[in-house]
């Protein structure tokens, strides 16, 4: 597994009114240890999606570098977007299998479908699925490629609370089964504390790193809302910057 170094010196967009450039990210540097679960927390519009797109290679127009210790070629990146982005003309199974090289990973996919409770729905088209189920399919697709880095862009936004909790549990279960680095974007601090090994707080644009915190709640106690809430209160109490941000 690879240690990943993210070093973005400058990312700009053409300004909407055509007058020059809009600075989106400035001097953002952080590292992701192999198998580490990191949550990026920041206000809406702070460039979290832009950052994930840069890391995923969907946008290559920036100054800086994103590199892995073992070399970028060995880095297998999976990306779970805000909306599931499933191909509506392919079944659940086909959507997952298409992300894999031909004929690869059938048994692993079977296992993931079973863990996510999707075995019975594998031959259905996405239009027949609820939003929660579609998110789980997108999660299976992401895990199916056995990523070394999983990018997640507010994947549980607009999902009802019990469904979101269930998906979080499944996410952690599969991640523990096969550890890999995760970069999870959210603006929900409780969700971030429940999931992450480390929290990275981002500023409003131009995006820069504001603060880093290690979450020291044992994994077994993360489902205890009181422990999460206590951690959140402590965090907000201790750090003025985080309080202002949220």
């Amino acid at each position: 597994m690879s240690h990943i170094h993210i070093d973005i010196r400058k990312k700009t967009y053409p300004a909407r009114d055509g007058s020059g450039e809009h600075l989106a990210i400035r001097d953002l540097h952080f590292e992701l240890a192999a198998g580490e679960f990191v949550c990026l927390v920041g206000p809406s519009g702070c460039g979290k999606t832009t950052l994930l797109n840069l890391i995923a290679g969907l946008d290559r127009h920036f100054e800086g570098s994103i590199r892995a210790d073992e070399g970028a070629a060995t880095l297998r990146i999976a990306y779970m977007f805000q909306n599931p982005r499933l191909l509506p003309w392919r079944t659940v199974r086909e959507n997952i299998q298409l992300a894999l090289p031909k004929g690869e990973g059938r048994e692993w996919v079977d296992h993931l479908l079973e863990v996510m409770g999707l075995t019975a729905s594998q031959n259905q088209y996405p239009q027949r699925l609820s939003l929660g189920m579609s998110r789980r399919v997108a999660l299976v697709r992401a895990f199916a490629i056995r990523p070394s880095l999983l990018l997640m862009d507010e994947p549980l936004v607009s999902v009802d609370a019990p469904t979101a909790r269930r998906i979080r549990q499944l996410l952690v279960r599969v991640w523990q089964e096969r550890p890999h680095s995760v970069l999870f974007v959210t603006h929900d601090l409780r969700e971030a504390i429940a999931l992450a090994d480390r929290l990275i707080f981002l500023s409003a644009p131009p995006t820069a790193l504001l603060h880093e915190v290690t979450v020291d709640i044992p994994r077994g106690e993360r489902e205890d809302e009181t422990a999460v809430e206590a951690f959140r209160r402590r965090l907000i109490g201790e750090h003025q910057q985080i309080r202002d941000l949220l």
Partner: protein, 247 residues
């Protein structure tokens, strides 16, 4: 009983009865009775005349259809994905859409001679702008999110084309094909009438010169039946198949 009354076959039978009545009232060679027309149709089939000319026209239809569809699809997708070139060519496309079919046919015969190439070229040039416009629209509306997903999961060009782009363009392609068949066969008849010595258009021209309305109607019925069969047996099932995931 009420549902039978509104069945398409009822309207067809009603039309035949109306035609028969009108033919009896007019009693003119300008409108032969249905029976006379079907008799000519039967004779022309038995003599082999109709199958020959129909075959020639269908062959021209197939060649020009394939050429117009493949060229139009390629150009349409290209323009749909390249905004600047699309702007550059847009006016030309509108101009070509508005050139009358007759003008293209005459010019092709003048420039390339009264041969098969000119005939096919005339049909292709007439249909091409229509396919380009439909496929350009399809390419413009490709789902950006899905294309990004394919890129993030390293689908590669072929997989992206087959599984992400093609299914999105298919309804537009079928739309272009369905309107294409309807447009092309009408132009082919014109092309054959003006400059070929075989095919349905040529035969219709002969019947016109002899004022043989029964012949004209018999050939028209045969041709329309064949085109309808292509629509019902090939294009419609393809359309249904492409949309099965929407259910």
């Amino acid at each position: 009983m009420r549902s039978l009354l509104y069945h398409p076959i009822s309207s067809f039978l009603l039309f035949l009865a109306f035609w028969q009545g009108l033919a009896v009232i007019l009693a003119s060679p300008a409108l032969p009775a249905p029976q006379a027309v079907f008799q000519v149709l039967y004779q022309e089939i038995r003599s082999g005349n109709l199958p020959f000319h129909l075959g020639v026209t269908l062959a021209r239809l197939a060649v020009s259809f394939v050429l117009a569809m493949s060229l139009g699809t390629a150009i349409g997708i290209f323009l749909g994905r390249h905004e600047k070139l699309d702007r550059f060519f847009d006016h030309w496309l509108v101009i070509f859409l508005n050139v009358p079919a007759l003008v293209t046919v005459i010019l092709c015969y003048v420039w390339f001679g009264l041969g098969e190439i000119a005939a096919i070229a005339a049909v292709v040039v007439n249909k091409l702008p229509n396919v380009v416009v439909i496929l350009r629209e399809g390419a413009r509306t490709l789902d950006r999110d899905l294309l990004e997903m394919a890129e993030a999961y390293r689908f590669g060009r072929l997989k992206t084309l087959l599984h992400v782009i093609w299914p999105q363009l298919f309804p537009f392609l079928i739309g272009a094909a369905r309107t294409g068949i309807a447009l092309i066969w009408k132009i082919i008849l014109l092309v054959e009438l003006l400059g070929r010595s075989n095919g349905m258009g040529y035969q219709l021209h002969l019947f016109f010169q002899m004022f043989d309305v029964a012949g004209i109607l018999a050939y028209t019925i045969a041709f329309v039946a064949v085109i309808q069969s292509i629509e019902a047996l090939v294009l419609k099932p393809l359309d249904v198949r492409a949309k099965r995931w929407r259910r």
